[in-house]
């Protein structure tokens, strides 16, 4: 088990539990009461820790090395999954995966960022940072879904789109922009769920949908707290403050009306009970699909665009003379 810094009190309790269990195995003393007591203690402690998480702690949780990733969820939720590769122009991006799946009888197209489980795998997946071909593969799969009238489900988990030289050459910006443009008009339902990190353009590049949800311990922001700290505070040391200032948690995002709901995680986070998490996620997606699939495509698209049109906070000042006809300044 991997314990995060704020989970340290739990770590020592787990150590004690382990030791007592060992003693118990020797069969001399009956330790069942002590085990029960400790387990209760762990439960209370965990509840306490997890009910008061700061923004930065949620960022850490979203990056927990044991947290489940896209392919895990797809395989848990669906009996059949056929992964499809390649953008048909350049190559197959390993940081975005997708394919056809069967969700209890409903055919769907899954798309999601994919991170790696160990060092080698992480490199293979480029840490979940997609190149333009990843976004183009995603778009190809969405178009496939549209042609065969399958809903699209996007699972978001990225520290950002890859900022590399080749990514720029092949048009990282164009690839993301094109996806936003096309997703707005896609004739099938789109459900997006942030399952880990939702960093900026890299996240929203597969994140425009009829319904967008966040798992409880995830974040969604225009920039990572680290980069924000380095730019606005001119130092890497203010990531905690930046995480607070950015108001990037699911609670904030829901309160601001920028997402449509929060999906609860099991106590201790998605990584504590990944199978349970997959079940909750599946139930949630299925419920949303029932509603969306029944809608007329034109109505759905209009509703989708209207939802995004409303996003923004600004004030209005009284009209001034500047709104009248201006003449050329010479």
């Amino acid at each position: 088990m991997v314990f995060l810094e704020f989970e340290k009190p739990l770590e020592s309790l787990y150590e004690q539990l382990e030791k007592i269990k060992q003693v118990g195995e020797q069969g001399v003393i009956d330790v069942s009461d002590m085990i029960k007591e400790l387990e209760n203690k762990i439960k209370t402690q965990r509840k306490e820790i997890y009910s008061n998480l700061t923004g930065w702690q949620k960022v850490q949780l979203s990056r927990h090395p044991e947290r489940p990733y896209t392919l895990y969820y797809i395989n848990q939720m669906c009996k059949k999954f056929v992964e499809l590769h390649g953008d048909r122009y350049f190559k197959d991006d390993k940081a975005i995966v997708g394919g056809l799946a069967n969700l209890d009888g409903q055919s769907v197209v899954f798309i999601g960022h994919q991170k790696g489980a160990d060092t080698k795998d992480r490199q293979y997946r480029n840490f979940g940072m997609a190149n333009p071909e990843g976004y183009r593969k995603a778009l190809r799969l969405m178009k496939l879904a549209e042609r065969f009238n399958y809903p699209v489900i996007c699972l978001i988990d990225t520290p950002g789109a890859f900022p590399g030289l080749e990514a720029e050459e092949r048009g990282q910006a164009e690839a993301i922009a094109r996806n936003l443009f096309e997703m707005a008009q896609l004739r099938v339902p789109i459900v997006c769920v942030v399952i880990g990190e939702g960093a900026s353009g890299g996240a929203i590049g597969i994140g425009l949908g009829d319904k967008v949800f966040m798992l409880e311990n995830t974040w969604y922001s225009v920039i990572s707290p680290e980069s924000c700290s380095s730019i606005l505070w001119r130092s890497w040391d203010y990531k905690e403050q930046a995480a607070e200032a950015l108001k990037l948690t699911a609670d904030h995002m829901y309160k601001f009306g920028l997402i449509d709901g929060i999906i609860k995680e099991p106590l201790g986070g998605a990584h504590a009970l990944p199978g349970e998490m997959a079940k909750i996620l599946k139930k949630h997606i299925k419920k949303e699909l029932v509603e969306l699939v029944g809608m007329d495509p034109d109505v759905r698209i209009e509703k989708r665009i209207k939802k995004y049109s409303k996003m923004g906070q600004y004030a209005k000042k009284p009209k001034t003379k500047s709104d009248t006809v201006s003449t050329k300044v010479k």
Binding site: L248, Y308, G312, K316, S322
Partner: protein
């Protein structure tokens, strides 16, 4: 024989050590360091007469360069507010006030309607001087409102981008403006109304990754910095020096992301030509 004999002929102070001339009279080119009078610069479309460097100019400068005389500003009542109470080294509120005082502008974009070669057009032009031309809710909303206006009145739309990207101080609200503007542009496209995107120095981040790259016609001024990630970030990522000319307009043209590069002195004529190809209302 004098005590003050000049040892070398001519001026020996190198140009870069030259003292600044007072503002308002002279302009010292940011690239070749040559000085020109402001009047000369203005007459030369705000380009350095010596090296053709396209000086960064503001929204109203573009309106003056492009429109046939009069133009009407739209949606100027929209102003940013510090909804998140965002505070880094300074509160966002203070930054907004400072930017307003410094620039005399209300935000990083101004929308105006006028005519180019007697054909109507709505132009949304960004101002880099206002918090780095960053895109927050106001930029997104003004673009969205412009698109609705163009849809209603069947007028071509153009955005002149000049921006460092999304405005961090509006966090996810600024991120969502990418989705908002792109979604609105898809409506314009569906209605068959042309949208021209012009990128100027610099156009990066969330602005490039949304409306700037979505023009029916995409073009740029010469030698502008255009990209998704900033050059410094890329350099840190790949731990190598970037090739010469990386992320310039010329680089983007070569890689297939621009239709053409246009010199500022030819911009108005080129836009007139473009507009003549699209069937919309005429004057």
């Amino acid at each position: 024989m004098g005590w003050f004999k000049r040892l070398k002929d001519g001026i020996v102070t190198s140009t870069k050590d030259k003292k600044e001339a007072p503002d308002g009279l002279w302009y010292k080119c940011a690239r070749c360091k040559e000085a020109t009078t402001i009047k000369e610069l203005r007459e030369n479309y705000h380009k350095c007469p010596k090296c053709n460097y396209h000086v960064r100019i503001g929204s109203y400068d573009y309106f003056d360069l492009l429109f046939d005389g009069k133009y009407q500003e739209h949606f100027s009542e929209l102003v940013s507010k510090d909804f998140l109470k965002f505070k880094d080294l300074k509160p966002y509120d203070t930054r907004l006030e400072a930017a307003k005082d410094k620039t005399g502008l209300d935000d990083a974009i101004v929308v105006a309607e006028g005519k180019i070669s007697r054909k109507p057009i709505v132009i949304a032009a960004m101002d880099f001087s206002f918090i780095g031309g960053s895109m927050g809710s106001v930029v997104g909303e003004k673009i969205a409102k412009s698109i609705d206006y163009c849809l209603k009145n069947n007028i071509p739309f153009m955005i002149i981008s000049k921006s460092g990207g999304a405005r961090m101080m509006e966090s996810a609200f600024s991120l969502m403006q990418m989705a908002k503007t792109s979604a609105k542009l898809s409506q314009l496209s569906k209605a068959g109304i042309p949208y021209f995107s012009m990128m100027t120095d610099p156009t990066t981040g969330g602005v490039t990754a949304s409306f700037a790259m979505l023009g029916d016609i995409n073009f740029a001024e010469p030698e502008a910095l255009i990209g998704f990630a900033g050059p410094r970030v890329i350099k840190e990522t790949i731990k190598k020096d970037l090739p010469e000319g990386f992320q310039t307009s010329e680089f983007l043209l070569e890689h297939g992301f621009l239709d053409f590069i246009v010199d500022r002195s030819e911009l108005k004529t080129r836009l007139g030509d473009l507009l003549s190809f699209f069937h919309t209302k005429t004057a």
